[in-house]
Subunit: 124 residues, 2 copies
DNA sequence: ATTATTGTATTAAGCGCTTAGAACAATAAT
DNA sequence: ATTATTGTTCTAAGCGCTTAATACAATAAT
């Protein structure tokens, strides 16, 4: 997992977002084991408390569950994962279209842009 | 101008982002007058210091300029505005495509989605 | 000249985020 | 039984963001 944080948002919120994407995208498989808090914290370069806070939030949202000492697992409820996937996709789309339209791009412009966009592209 | 802030990001940063969109999108015309800090602050429901901080940042980036007592103005340098417009569009696109691909959407899927998306849509 | 407007700066307080350090609780491993 | 692992909780400190209150600086309006 690649952790890069920006400074203008709480780290724990960024962790929640990243892990949501990972789980919803299937890179963390349903039912799969999650590394221990302390390991994740070390890997991400943050305090265990901060990682714990993020994981607790994901638990509150039903994406993770934890057994006192056997560790933490991704939910195996595929419906929950799929719901999050759709919800994230919709939120991203709404945000993107809103911003692009404010910037003067129409739907057709955007669709064309999306299909042809390559990383490092400059013709936005 | 419509101000709605989320709680997990500094208000001043959100103001900067909103005003950038407004300026880059031409809703605040180049050379146009910006309301006084105190008015903007009142309208946005934030402390004048917070608004001042956001405006100072936009000034630092060359999007606004201020004359001691005649008020504040949007830059009339069209090239600067256009550069910001492209930069924002690119950043939004990169973010959007990155997230959507993680969620399992391919370019063609996304393009189709974008063209057909309506507010309140659920088929993401 | 005087007053009002506008941008700018300062200080102090409160709050949330992050860290460090430590401890506790439950159970898997030995 | 004992030990190691893992999740959970707590306290104290530091720092940045926000607010409130106030004042100063420059100039437009009168």
């Amino acid at each position: 997992m690649r952790w890069n944080f920006v400074s203008d948002r709480p780290i724990y919120a960024q962790i929640v977002e990243s892990m949501k994407l990972f789980i919803a995208g299937g890179e963390l498989a349903p039912g799969g084991k999650v590394p221990p808090v302390r390991d994740l914290a070390a890997e991400a370069g943050v305090n265990p408390n901060t990682m714990q806070r993020a994981l607790a939030e994901l638990e509150r949202e039903g994406l993770l569950r934890s057994n006192r000492t056997s560790g933490r697992y991704v939910t195996d409820d595929a419906a929950v994962v799929e719901a999050v996937r759709l919800s994230l996709a919709k939120a991203e789309t709404v945000r993107f279209l809103g911003a692009m339209e404010k910037l003067g791009y129409g739907r057709a412009d955007i669709a064309r842009l999306v299909e042809n966009f390559k990383a490092g592209d400059d013709k936005a």
